[in-house]
């Protein structure tokens, strides 16, 4: 039991990353509804963010704020900063996606992928 707990504490974030990524890819590829695919994409992006945050962690480390007169082990702050940018990119993507979804709905009355391909080959 203790070994299992130990394993989960050490590897938990990576396991969660794999679960989220697989779930995201599954949602993206299995649904004809664009909004559901978008949720899948968002889960996938979240899994990548979790991965970065997980690799920033060090054993027995604290938040990276320097306090004068106290020495602490810092967790690596750089991945956190990167992920703030990645979150912003993700939000921007979501914004563009929602705007496009509204146009799709205005044009066709549905936000489902059609059964045939989107483009017309003209044949």
């Amino acid at each position: 039991m203790a070994a299992l707990l130990d394993y989960l504490v050490n590897r938990g974030p990576y396991l969660l990353f794999v679960v989220l990524a697989v779930l995201g890819v599954y949602l993206m590829t299995s649904h004809r509804n664009y909004l559901k695919a978008m949720v899948g994409l968002y889960l996938f992006q979240a899994s990548v963010i979790l991965f970065f945050v997980a690799i920033a962690f060090r054993v027995d480390s604290s938040i990276p704020i320097l306090v004068p007169g106290r020495t602490i082990t810092l967790s690596n702050p750089l991945p956190h900063a990167l992920m703030l940018t990645a979150i912003v990119v993700g939000v921007a993507t979501l914004g563009v996606a929602v705007a496009i979804l509204r146009r799709i709905q205005a044009e066709t009355g549905s936000i489902e992928e059609p059964r045939h391909e989107a483009g017309e080959s003209g044949r």
Binding site: V25, M28, Y34, A37, M38, L41, F44, Q45, V48, F51, F52, I55, L78, P79, L82, T85, A86, V89, A92, T93, V96, A97, A99, I100, L101, R103, I104, E107, T108, E113, P114, E117, A118, G119, E120, S121, G122, R123
Partner: protein, 488 residues
Amino acid sequence: MTSSSLPIVLYAVPFLAALLVAVVGWYVRGSARVIAVSAMAMTATLAAAVLARVMTEGTLYTPLGGWPPPLGIALVVDRLGALMVVLVSGVASLTVTGSLRHVSQELPGRETPYYSCVLLVTAGLIGIAVTGDLFNLFVHLEVASLAAYALVAAGGRGAPRAAMAYLIIGSAGASLYLLGVGFLYAATGTLNMADEARLVATADPRLVMVGTLLIVAGLGVKMALFPLHAWMPAAYQLAPAAAASFMAPLVTKVSAYALIRVLFWVHGEALLRTGGALEILAWAGAAAIVAGGALALVEADLRRMLAYSSIGQVGVVMLGVGLANTAGMTGAVLHIASDALVKGVLFLAAGIALLRFGVSRVDDLNRLRGRAPWTGAAITVAGLSLVGVPPLAGFFGKWYVLSGALQEGRWMFVAALVLGGLASIGYVFRILERLYFAPAPEHSPPGEGSWLAVGACLVLAAGIVLLGVANESVVSTLVLPALPEVGP
């Protein structure tokens, strides 16, 4: 290496102009196009200045925010990067200027957001070409891609769906790239490309290999490398003609350049040989050449045919990269440049055909016969370059890749190149046959399209001839000195 602030100015001009267009264009009618075209011209001039300085002073180097690398982000422009920014800004200025009339015809009242997005895409592409930081590359990739999704969505019926598919697949590709960067970062603890190249040899090879394959997959999506190309034909077929003529030549090519840069500047050839990434790329490239050619051959819609052709040409580039010898790499870089020019001409001409003559299918191109001689001439030059007729630029790119394949004795790849060449003869001559030999219909609007579009087509076509004739000096001064250390 010379420290210079020129690269950051080069990036800032289109980026700030995009914001300026969004604000001023909102209040002052008709100002958007003026600002956009002048910003494009300024960017092209600055790119030429960057190239001139790189030629005289060597690699330009800009540490951002006063942080010395590897802590801070650095912009690095070597000769190859300089060639890329000249190509991007040159083709972008010409296609944007050339499609001014198309925009006012296709997107009346929506010029402000259109030009804002166009400038954002340009800024993103230039950022990709000049950055020396793996994460910064991701950000620029997304700046360019998000604006590109919006440009595709601005098209007519069906375009929003194509844009949505592009967005989902494209963002998934970007996430794969980011995940790959994460693995590399976990292995080496740095994001600076030069620093990474130094540390990667001693890092955990398993992490590096997974990271490399994820980056190849992610950028493969962005460059529409077969079989990751699903988003591309519909996107470029249904986007506004103006947007397609601006994006199709550049977006996929710059992603291909980014992959070359990451693979060879960061990883180095020796490491890649063991990882299998190069072999995958070469086979995917060969498959893309055959599949792209075959799909273009049977396609009825003109712009969709051109998109399939682009898939084949990206295949040529990636086959050259996958071979990883000097000839293959030279061919890859040269082919990036030549196909950017060729697709610039052809997509602009497709825009003229659609908006002036109402032609979207290859079979209807006979409406242009005898009525648009200059457009026809530009299409012919670009088409022959696509086929690979010397001394046009397209010949030399393919030739170098072919000799690279011969050097390695890879007969399957030679066969793929020959098959792709035959397919391109087929689809290009389908266009030329309708243009010159099919009977012209009685009633059809007389005269050429807007002289701006025709002029831009002709300048780009002249660029194809020039790049072909001057290919030797381009290769020896710009490509070879900048190539990474590869085999013979």
